[in-house]
């Protein structure tokens, strides 16, 4: 598998193709952010989270209004929870998971199905590395879960909620995955890293 790091402004394809992190000019596709070209696919390595309907996100309640709540979801704009859809009350600072219901062209972001999260920690990582943290068929995150015995919820927006188990080790592993997201053979390396650490700690 051939991998190539591309910087903004480099020609990716001779034809127009709509992928995130690219732009089209004169019928050709160029990269707009730092990314990786791998087997004809462009994978952005930088950038903020852009909400997409159906995403599960970890948010923090920022403001309470008569009509609902404003929730920070690590995007360039805040999400709205409509109080008509809610059966529970939230306080400012509460951490919750919610589903992105809709987003329109002027970035009105509607969230639904909130569920309060408590007694855990929230970790924030670069949102574009989330697919790597989850891994193919959840392989990576399942491995971290089983080795650290912690409950981990991964939001699409780059926020990860951790509870119980060896949280410190899980955070260390997830940060490592995020920092080395563009390298290959990562799953094995993380597995070795976790096992070595666990051996160290059991001594």
């Amino acid at each position: 598998m051939e991998r190539k790091i591309v910087t903004p402004g480099e020609l990716l394809f001779d034809f127009p193709k709509r992928v995130s992190g690219t732009y089209v000019e004169n019928g050709k596709t160029y990269s707009a952010v730092l990314g990786m070209l791998s087997d004809g696919f462009f994978i952005p390595l930088k950038g903020r989270y852009t909400p997409f309907p159906g995403d599960l996100v970890v948010g923090v309640v920022m403001e309470e209004r008569f009509s609902g709540y404003l929730v920070d979801v690590n995007a360039p704009f805040q999400g709205v929870l409509d109080s008509r859809d809610l059966r529970q009350e939230f306080k400012i600072g509460d951490v919750l998971i919610a589903r992105v219901d809709s987003i329109d062209e002027i970035n009105n972001l509607i969230l639904v199905d909130p569920k309060k999260l408590s007694n855990g920690e929230v970790l924030e990582v670069n949102a574009v590395t989330i697919p790597r943290i989850i891994g193919r068929n959840n392989s990576m995150i399942e491995m971290v879960r089983s080795l650290t015995k912690s409950e981990i919820f991964v939001g699409k927006n780059g926020r990860i909620f951790l509870k119980n188990g060896n949280i410190a080790l899980a955070i260390e592993a997830i940060k490592k995955i995020s920092n080395e997201a563009h390298t290959s053979g990562l799953t094995d390396r993380i597995k070795n890293f976790l096992e070595a650490r666990l051996n160290e700690q059991s001594k």
Partner: protein
């Protein structure tokens, strides 16, 4: 800057600091130098030292400044009070920093894909720590790297250099002495991807032929700067 004290700027094809007419000063670019900014870069360009930080896209404050069609770009160029031989100690915006902040905004409005982030703002702050002529191209070079480091979608890098006329000859990348006593100074910046001109200013006078030749010289030099910009970003990915 009286003409009476004017030093010899070009002697036997060598300039005051020993460079040839087409040579750049040594340029060092490093990305991700700050922890708290979304993206950052530091540029050491001869004796110039410039640091840039980028925040955003994020929510606009106050809200009525926001544009429902695109992101707004805030560019802030500041010279530190200790940056220069002359006085910059009074603080607050002055004529020079207001001008450069404004043209900086225009450069990056044409480079950032602002229409992807309606109702948001992208803030670019540049501080000049030490100045020796050509700080605006150094500042925009740093800002461009910081933007890429922050992951803001851009059409390419903004890379450029100033070309001017000293002692009747065209010289690339003027330093402070050459800028003060030379006949003309023209900073130009290009989009590294499609070679669009993003910035073009001129002090003093050039003939049409000299102008065209200067643009070519700038273009050649901007390619070298762009190579360094790309390297600085790639280095942090290893």
């Amino acid at each position: 800057m009286s003409k009476v004290n004017k030093p010899e700027l070009v002697v036997d094809g060598k300039r005051t600091d020993g460079r040839g007419l087409g040579d750049l000063r040594s340029v060092k670019i490093e990305s991700r130098v700050l922890k708290n900014a979304d993206g950052s870069a530091m540029v050491e360009w001869g004796n110039n030292k410039v640091i840039a930080g980028v925040y955003g896209p994020r929510e606009v404050f106050p809200k009525h400044f926001s544009d429902p069609f695109k992101a707004i770009v805030n560019f802030r160029y500041v010279m530190c009070s200790f940056s220069s031989l002359e006085e910059h100690s009074k603080g607050g915006p002055n004529r020079r920093s207001v001008e450069i902040s404004k043209i900086g905004r225009h450069v990056f409005e044409n480079l950032i894909l602002t229409e992807q982030f309606p109702n948001t703002t992208i803030d670019i702050d540049v501080e000049v720590l030490q100045s020796d002529g050509g700080t605006r191209v150094a500042a925009f070079t740093a800002a461009s790297v910081a933007l890429v480091d922050a992951g803001v979608p851009v059409k390419g890098f903004a890379a450029g250099v100033s070309v001017g006329k000293v002692d009747g000859q065209l010289a690339v990348d003027l330093n402070k002495v050459e800028d003060n006593y030379g006949e003309s100074d023209m900073p130009v910046m290009f989009n590294s991807s499609n070679s669009d001109i993003l910035l073009l200013q001129m002090d003093g006078l050039l003939t049409r032929q000299e102008f065209e030749r200067s643009i070519d010289l700038c273009f050649e030099a901007s390619k070298k700067i762009n190579t360094l910009q790309v390297e600085s970003i790639r280095k942090k990915m290893e």
